[in-house]
């Protein structure tokens, strides 16, 4: 690992986010496998666990001082896109790694779809409202999906509740892919709203 990458990850507090995400998933897996006979986690709980694993990565999308970042003569957009995609891979890996430990969060395709879509929403949230608030929409959306965790219905419902649809549902897949692409593009291009330098120093 290069020194620059290490410093980047530290400045974004990625280790804390990974620890928080992995710890939370581990707790769910431990509780589920110890109390239940079956490995299959219901769709609603699986979606919420995905949101819980993804949400800690929201705050990693901004450093302590955006103005300081801008002074670095680096091509930031591809780096930011790579950051978001890496978050997606880490979250999906955490969820898929739970299988041998007695908690199955769904078919691989569904885990990838849900992770990708939620990370995309986090990216969109970071670009629009800032990294600190990026978790709100995906967590609330996942909670609403878990609340109404019934697949099927009219097409708009497939798109609105894409997280709880069956594995082969095309509308859900397209929705998740669109959210990921939009999130990566928006975050890569815009980063987030401008933060006043005085507030940036407070936001430690």
């Amino acid at each position: 690992m290069t020194r620059g990458l290490r410093l980047y990850l530290r400045s974004r507090r990625v280790p804390v986010a990974v620890a928080g995400s992995a710890g939370a998933v581990a707790l769910v897996v431990a509780a589920w496998s110890s109390m239940m006979d079956r490995a299959g986690v219901p769709a609603g709980l699986a979606v919420l666990t995905t949101a819980m694993a993804a949400a800690p990565f929201g705050p990693t999308l901004a450093g302590p001082d955006p103005a300081l970042d801008r002074t670095a003569a680096l091509p930031w957009p591809p780096r930011r896109a790579a950051h978001l995609v890496a978050c997606c891979i880490v979250v999906a890996a955490l969820l898929l790694a739970a299988r041998p430990f007695g908690a199955d969060f769904g078919p691989v395709w569904v885990v990838l779809r849900n992770t990708a879509g939620l990370i995309g929403v986090i990216g969109l949230g970071a670009a629009v409202a800032g990294a600190r608030a990026a978790w709100q929409v995906p967590v609330a959306w996942a909670a609403l999906a878990a609340f109404m965790a019934a697949p099927g219905g009219p097409r708009w419902r497939h798109a609105a509740l894409w997280m709880v649809q069956e594995p082969g549902n095309r509308i859900a897949t397209v929705t998740a892919a669109t959210l990921l692409v939009a999130g990566v593009a928006a975050y890569a291009i815009r980063v987030g709203p401008q933060v006043a330098p005085v507030e940036a120093t407070m936001d430690q």
């Binding site: 928080g20 939370a24 589920w32 919420l48 819980m52 949400a55 600190r132 909670a143 609403l144």
Partner: protein, 447 residues
């Protein structure tokens, strides 16, 4: 005190949290609109079950605000002033508390506005007030958590973890396991429109709210071990109250609302009464019911009063339960099922005259729907009748339309006195809870 509060209301994240709660609460209520359309107590269920999402969001919103104290790095400066800790925390706590409570009550008020003109009993609003207290407590506890752990991952992790714990607990809990009480999502919707959240459930939510409030206040007031121990004891007591006070299952969650359950009668005669939750439908229902009573008056000993069928216990999600209550003498019962598309019951008169007024005579669900429908069509002077139900619409009744039409034609081909005799015989047999009624219409029944 008012000025710092107003400043916090403008400058803190309180407005953003309020908007988030209004949007999420509004979406969850809107998604179930057809379920609570025209029914205040059902809106109460939708509103209170949404707490499953709102409470974690309020908790996280509090954590975001709590982090602010640490982020400013002005703790030493503020501690050097001669004011107690709680006085410094009060404006921010007050602002967030007002925001979350107002957001929750605003969604209820919007729902109530949509229900204007229907039954709006105060008992149905009690749950919302208790839930507002839970939200304030959650926001204040979140503030304490944010002050203690200022890492940016704390708010999202708190929100998601509390959601996961709730859903996980309800998945893991089996049957009457009290562990399921940890979830604020109510898994059993009310079966009838007169059911409101039970006093025990309200008390359990009140215990949670009080525990969360105590935790938030104690952690704002002091940071010593004693204060913290008291706060954690308060939190533990609140969660224990939530788990232990409420009884799991529909009978623990719901109780009859006396105000919603009472009869409201239309002016004039014959008397037609519906329960208070359906009072807004009374003009249309009374016209249909009186038409049915006039039709029934062709038979000797006909009822002179029609009342809406109601259960004297909470519903059991069993369609047969509606066929068990016996009507008082001289009274015919009818079930009101409202079509969400039109906002009215499409078959009041038809269902009253089914079997000569014996469809809901306490004999259970009769198996001979065709014979009952033939008698109803004869009484109403129509070719047939179509009954509507909320599950299948007119589909079930339409299956036996040809048989009903044929039966009515055959009956009308008889002399007038014989027609009356046979329909009266069918009515009397149905009132005796006999199941095979067609022979009374065809004249094949044993005398």
């Amino acid at each position: 005190m008012i000025r710092p509060l107003r400043t916090e209301l403008r400058r803190s994240n309180a407005p953003a949290v309020a908007v988030l709660l209004v949007v999420v609460g509004g979406l969850s209520a809107a998604s179930m609109y057809t379920f609570w359309q025209g029914q205040w107590l059902r809106l109460g269920y939708v509103h209170t079950t949404g707490m499953f999402i709102l409470m974690p969001l309020a908790l996280a919103g509090g954590a975001v605000l709590g982090r602010r104290d640490r982020r400013t790095r002005a703790e030493d400066l503020l501690l050097s002033t001669g004011r107690p800790r709680w006085q410094r925390a009060l404006p921010a706590m007050g602002a967030l508390g007002i925001a979350v409570a107002a957001a929750h009550l605003l969604v209820l008020a919007a729902g109530a506005a949509l229900l204007a003109g229907t039954y709006l009993g105060l008992r149905g609003a009690v749950a919302a007030l208790v839930d507002a207290l839970v939200l304030v407590g959650a926001a204040w506890t979140g503030m304490a958590a944010g002050r203690r752990w200022s890492a940016p991952v704390v708010p999202p992790l708190l929100a998601a973890a509390v959601l996961v714990v709730q859903v996980g607990a309800s998945e893991i809990a089996h049957g009457d396991d009290r562990l399921g009480n940890l979830s604020l999502m109510i898994s059993w919707p009310p079966d009838t429109v007169w059911e409101t959240t039970s006093s025990r459930l309200l008390l359990s939510h009140l215990a949670l709210g009080a525990g969360l409030l105590l935790t938030g206040v104690l952690l704002a007031a002091g940071a010593s071990v004693l204060w913290r121990a008291g706060a954690f004891a308060g939190l533990a007591a609140g969660v224990a109250g939530l788990v232990l006070i409420a009884n799991p299952g529909p009978s623990g969650i719901w109780q009859l609302d006396a105000g919603a359950y009472r009869y409201v009668c239309a002016d004039g005669t014959p008397q037609v009464c519906v329960t208070a939750v359906h009072a807004h439908l009374l003009p249309g229902v009374s016209a249909d019911a009186r038409r049915a009573l006039r039709a029934l008056a062709k038979l000797p000993g006909a009822p002179t009063r029609a009342v809406e069928l109601r259960l004297d216990t909470i519903g059991e999600n069993d369609s047969d339960q509606w066929f068990r209550p016996k009507p008082p003498p001289g009274t015919v019962q009818f079930q009101l099922e409202v079509d969400p598309g039109t906002g009215r019951d499409p078959d009041v008169a038809e269902s009253i005259v089914m079997g000569g007024g014996t469809r809901w005579s306490g004999c259970g669900h009769g198996s001979d729907d065709v014979a009952q429908a033939v008698a109803a069509a004869w009484l109403l002077d129509t070719d047939t009748v179509r009954l509507w139900d909320s599950w299948s619409g007119f589909d079930y009744a339409d299956r036996y339309q040809p048989e009903v039409r044929a039966g009515v034609q055959a009956l009308r081909a008889l002399p007038g006195a014989e027609q009356l005799h046979r329909v009266t015989a069918l009515r009397d047999a149905a009132a005796r809870c006999e199941q095979d009624l067609m022979p009374y219409l065809t004249g094949q029944a044993a005398p």
